[in-house]
Chain length 259, copies 2
Amino acid sequence: MEEWAIFRNTSEGREALQFYLRKVDRRGALSEEAREAFLSLDVKLQDYEMYRQIVSEGELTNHCALIVSGCASRFKTLANGERQINSFHFRGDMVDLQSALMLKSDHSIRTHSPCRVARIECRAVLQLAQQFPEWARVLWFDTLVDAAIFREWTLNVGRRSAVSRVAHLLLEIAHRLQDIGESDGYEFQMPVTQTDLADAAGLSAVHTNRSLQTLRQRGLVRSFGRTMIVLDMPAMCAEAGFDRNYLYPAGPRGLPAAV
Amino acid sequence: MEEWAIFRNTSEGREALQFYLRKVDRRGALSEEAREAFLSLDVKLQDYEMYRQIVSEGELTNHCALIVSGCASRFKTLANGERQINSFHFRGDMVDLQSALMLKSDHSIRTHSPCRVARIECRAVLQLAQQFPEWARVLWFDTLVDAAIFREWTLNVGRRSAVSRVAHLLLEIAHRLQDIGESDGYEFQMPVTQTDLADAAGLSAVHTNRSLQTLRQRGLVRSFGRTMIVLDMPAMCAEAGFDRNYLYPAGPRGLPAAV
DNA sequence: CGGGTGCTTGATCTCTATCAACTGGTGTGG
DNA sequence: CCACACCAGTTGATAGAGATCAAGCACCCG
């Protein structure tokens, strides 16, 4: 069993919630009242080792999970054990927001590093949405952003070549890490192994490795150990067909007169 | 230009909205007041011919689109014109719900048959969510169901064999058509061409055709013209790795005491 | 009747998977 | 401190899945 502790309105709990608040606040400012209501939610902080499942497919859920540190992924598996990763998640991501409304999870969530997770009761999230239409809008919008990412990933695995897929994933990771201040957009520490990258790209691990080599040989990236550096950003974006808009859609739309 | 007409609270407009109301009402009953508020929304009915774009990628949106009749798909395209379909939509689907909050569309929507579409102003949808927390929950949940379908599709194109992919798509279509009373779950009229099916499966049209032939030869399906019949449902589900739960997730969770 | 579209088939080629082995780093226990 | 196991990354050889190219057929519709 993992270690965990409950923080009721403590500074550590608030700090965890701040990561999410900061992210959604960038999309459109929340009222002071709404911010405070969110920050006073009760959270349960929980630490996971590397490669532990936070949520398992088919599981009944009571809590939403917010990543405080580390990297996690959402994935589904085939009967034969093959795995498809649907998204990567980092600090500030509400990785299991859907549990607020869905009784059962249709997919699993697993850590790719030691992770600290803040769990919030579904009921508390629902009450927040009930009390504050602006929170309802923010949470719904967050789900829409997730959906946009899933669509882009389907395009990635369905229609792009192996090299393009890998390039696309690298660029998404670069942006996501830049968002949380862990990259300048060019250089970053790979948060996952090549095997995991393969499960995200819908490729075999061997071919993912060779696709990475192609990117290196063509001078688009450089890497040593876990360090990855994008050397030629325009060429990478061209190769990947990458357009960052899907990560940062404009919105949420506000009500013109009312709010 | 397409023909269209505005219906303010008329019987024809209400009838169009009923299709969506019926669908979401099955997931959890709405209050009479909430139902009525929805049904009195202003809608603009619009008729499209086959293969017309309802929404184009990058477009600024003002309206949500609800399918009243026909079949449409959401898709994204690569620079070289290759297309990946993300989902199919039928009567009663709010195909462009995301426009309520997102200012721009990240993907396109296209008809696969003559379609009647009901357009609702974004502002009206947002007001509904603002006024009725139960509507906010219903719309958010609908988005979550969409997201679950996208995840399943990513798994489909990323990790399944060609035959399995095609089988999976056929089964999803069978279920969706059964939902709206246009199939008994076994026999249905194919709503899209094999070329479109290929774009949904992440395959070439030729290989999609051969995959269908494999399903026929193995006695899993029979088809003539547009008619498709699932002959061996257990074998089809096994081949596709199909589990209908992703289409019908349990929820939305209600508030225990409050509502 | 002609042209378009969707479905089908055959031949060939390319891309990606699979299998197997080897390297180097890391951690562990004797 | 060394032997060992383990894992991520890498390489080579081979097999197989699916793409591509090209052509023909059937059907519908003007």
